[in-house]
């Protein structure tokens, strides 16, 4: 049962991010919501790779006692996802900054020149 708590956290984070993405009106908050969804995804993949009692998947640090390691593949996947997330977040915030210059506002209700 307690093994499922991380997944519960992932689900809650995902829903929080998703709701924020849809209902928030401020561009910076939307950017934060995207980051929350990203964090939930990364946490999900990391949790999938966990094996109870496993040590870190690095030979130099694993020690001799434990024979189990957590799965290294999901960690590699997560790192890649984090790198991509960093690029996305940086670009998102730059857009927010430049949009603020053009529209003088961060409220999505004011940023509506494209419609129809």
């Amino acid at each position: 049962m307690t093994g499922n708590f991380p997944y519960l956290v992932v689900g809650i984070l995902f829903v929080i991010g998703f709701v924020g993405l849809i209902f928030e009106k401020n561009l910076v908050k939307i950017a934060i919501a995207v980051s929350v969804v990203e964090a939930a995804t990364n946490l999900f993949i990391i949790t999938l790779g966990y094996r109870s009692g496993g040590s870190i998947p690095v030979w130099t640090m694993a020690g001799s006692g434990s024979s189990r390691m957590v799965l290294p593949t999901p960690q590699a996947l997560t790192l890649t996802a984090i790198v991509i997330g960093l690029a996305t977040t940086a670009l998102l915030l730059s857009f927010v900054m430049t949009i603020y210059r053009h529209y003088g506002s961060l409220d999505v209700r004011d940023i509506r020149r494209l419609r129809g």
Partner: protein, 526 residues
């Protein structure tokens, strides 16, 4: 072992190298940068063509990144592939070829179109990154890499959509596009993680071999479907598409179309190759069909009322994506039933596949001619235009070809693919065919509107100084124009050599999986 086995890797490596060296070409000035832009584009088009020819001749190409040998998919007697694989079957090769042509046309067009702007070496770098990501999505044999390439092409295209960052609208469009596509990409990642949690593999072929039908797979399929339908602009989440397509520089839009086709490719790779065996229940095919019909109809009815050229054409993209979804949905419906497949399913698939190539060609050409109009006159609004046919006869001619093709007028290629779609969807339900035809009529109506307002009518005084656009832009447009004409003049050849192998490869789940597991060197070792 000929050097051609390395083509899948070169297809990614050449645009990447082009992107990484592009900022350095700024040192050599404008000429060097433009030469680099066109040369690398020609190079990847050539590679794409060679790859397509090779796959046509030798069957599915598998390439192992970083292996001792290019075909060592299962080293040391492993049961699943552990390395990063590229797998190019006929469908992938087909997608790669047409994306390359679209990207080449966009690149040649952009050389002059973007002339007035600085920072172009960054433009070139982003353009090549987007192209590399697009090719990667189409040839990868690995779900995680699919996500990575999806993000590469998306992030590069966000920058390109917002390239005219002094227009607030461009930034607004890019922001919208970015939210939809980042969310879509994360959903793809979650879907991959679901599959990984159960099977511990991310390789597509290995997954297709072992996959069963349970809760995990259903969740994953739904996530894939939602995310990729979002990315390719199907109806409930289509609102980013008109904004981004209309606001991006025209050359970029031409390549962006190919990028959204790559998402569509992902959608069909997932539904046909991975989950193909479980399509006995008609729910998923019908969802795709309904999405397609809605996209078709809503897209075209939004298009009819638009006044801006770019937005009008962009709304047509939504409706054209609907046609492809309809075709592939009908094909999927027939997938598990051999008789239905022979009866109407394969025709629908052929229609869908053929429509992909037609759509990419004529939609690219339409956006390029809209860009040419904008370049020459500086206006986007149809109400301000008129009588341009006398000033820009060549642009008008090319626009006419594309408009006739998209409307499905008989000698042109759009007619053939639409005929396949009408024929097959009628067999499933007559209403589908009726919707498709009504959409086609409305499409014709709205293109007559553009043609009539922009090109015909009396010459306006304010356009006295307007000239025909420069030669490089016309050349870029002609690449697509010639492609459309060739497809129209040789419909039998293109159906037999271009479309049918791709459609067959899509249905043939076993050979896609088998290609990886057969591609081993016995006793090869690590």
């Amino acid at each position: 072992m000929s050097w051609q086995v390395h083509l899948p890797a070169l297809l990614i490596a050449v645009p990447l190298l082009g992107a990484f060296l592009a900022p350095l070409t700024a040192l050599g000035g404008k000429g060097l940068r433009n030469t680099w832009f066109v040369l690398v584009s020609l190079a990847f088009t050539l590679i794409a063509f060679l790859l397509w020819a090779r796959v046509g001749a030798f069957g599915t190409a598998v390439y192992v990144m970083g292996g001792q040998s290019w075909n060592l998919a299962l080293p040391s007697g492993m049961e699943v592939p552990v390395r990063i694989l590229m797998e190019v079957d006929a469908f992938s090769a087909f997608m790669v070829l047409l994306s390359a042509v679209a990207a080449l046309a966009g690149a040649i067009f952009s050389v002059t179109y973007m002339d007035r702007f600085s920072g172009l070496e960054k433009f070139v770098a982003l353009y090549f990154l987007m192209v590399a990501g697009m090719f990667g999505m189409e040839i990868t044999g690995d779900f995680f890499n699919f996500f990575v390439f999806l993000e590469i092409s998306s992030v590069a295209s966000f920058g390109l959509v917002a390239f005219w960052r002094d227009r607030g609208e461009a930034l607004e469009a890019a922001f919208k596009y970015m939210l939809v596509s980042t969310l879509g990409a994360l959903m793809v990642l979650v879907a991959v993680a679901f599959l990984y949690s159960k099977y511990n593999v991310v390789n597509m072929a290995a997954l297709g071999k072992v996959i069963e039908w349970g809760m995990v797979e259903k969740t994953s399929l739904v996530l894939f479907l939602t995310a990729l339908a979002m990315k390719c602009g199907a109806v409930p989440m289509h609102m980013w598409m008109p904004d981004a397509y209309a606001e991006a520089p025209a050359g970029v839009t031409c390549a962006l179309i190919a990028v959204s086709q790559a998402s569509l490719y992902g959608l069909f790779r997932v539904t046909y190759t991975i989950f193909g065996a479980f399509m006995g229940s008609p729910i998923i095919p019908w969802v795709i069909i309904v999405l397609g019909v809605l996209s078709m109809f809503i897209g075209v009815s939004m298009a009819v009322i638009q006044k801006e050229v770019g937005r009008l054409i962009a709304y047509h993209s939504v409706s054209q994506v609907g046609y492809m979804l309809l075709g592939f949905g009908v094909g999927l419906l027939a997938l598990s039933d051999a008789r239905a497949m022979a009866d109407y399913g394969f025709t629908a698939l052929k229609g869908g596949v053929y429509h992909i190539v037609n759509y990419t060609m004529y939609k690219g050409l339409l956006f390029l001619s809209a860009g040419a109009l904008f370049y020459a006159t500086g206006c986007r609004n149809l109400n301000d235009m008129g009588g341009l046919g006398r000033k820009m006869p060549k642009t008008m001619g090319l626009f006419m070809i594309a408009a006739a093709a998209i409307a499905g007028l008989p000698p042109f290629n759009g007619f053939v693919s639409k005929l396949f779609l009408y024929e097959s969807s009628f067999a499933v339900h007559p209403v589908l065919a009726v919707f498709a035809m009504v959409t086609s009529v409305l499409t014709l109506a709205s293109f007559v509107k553009i043609f009539q307002t922009a090109f015909l009518g009396p010459a306006l005084k304010k356009f006295d100084n307007v000239r025909e656009v420069p030669g490089a832009m016309l050349l870029g447009m002609s690449v697509l124009g010639v492609a459309i004409l060739l497809l129209s003049l040789f419909p039998t050849w293109s159906v037999n050599h271009l479309v049918e192998p791709a459609a067959k490869a899509l249905v043939d789940q076993a050979s896609y999986i088998g290609a990886v597991f057969a591609a081993t060197v016995p006793g090869g070792g690590l």
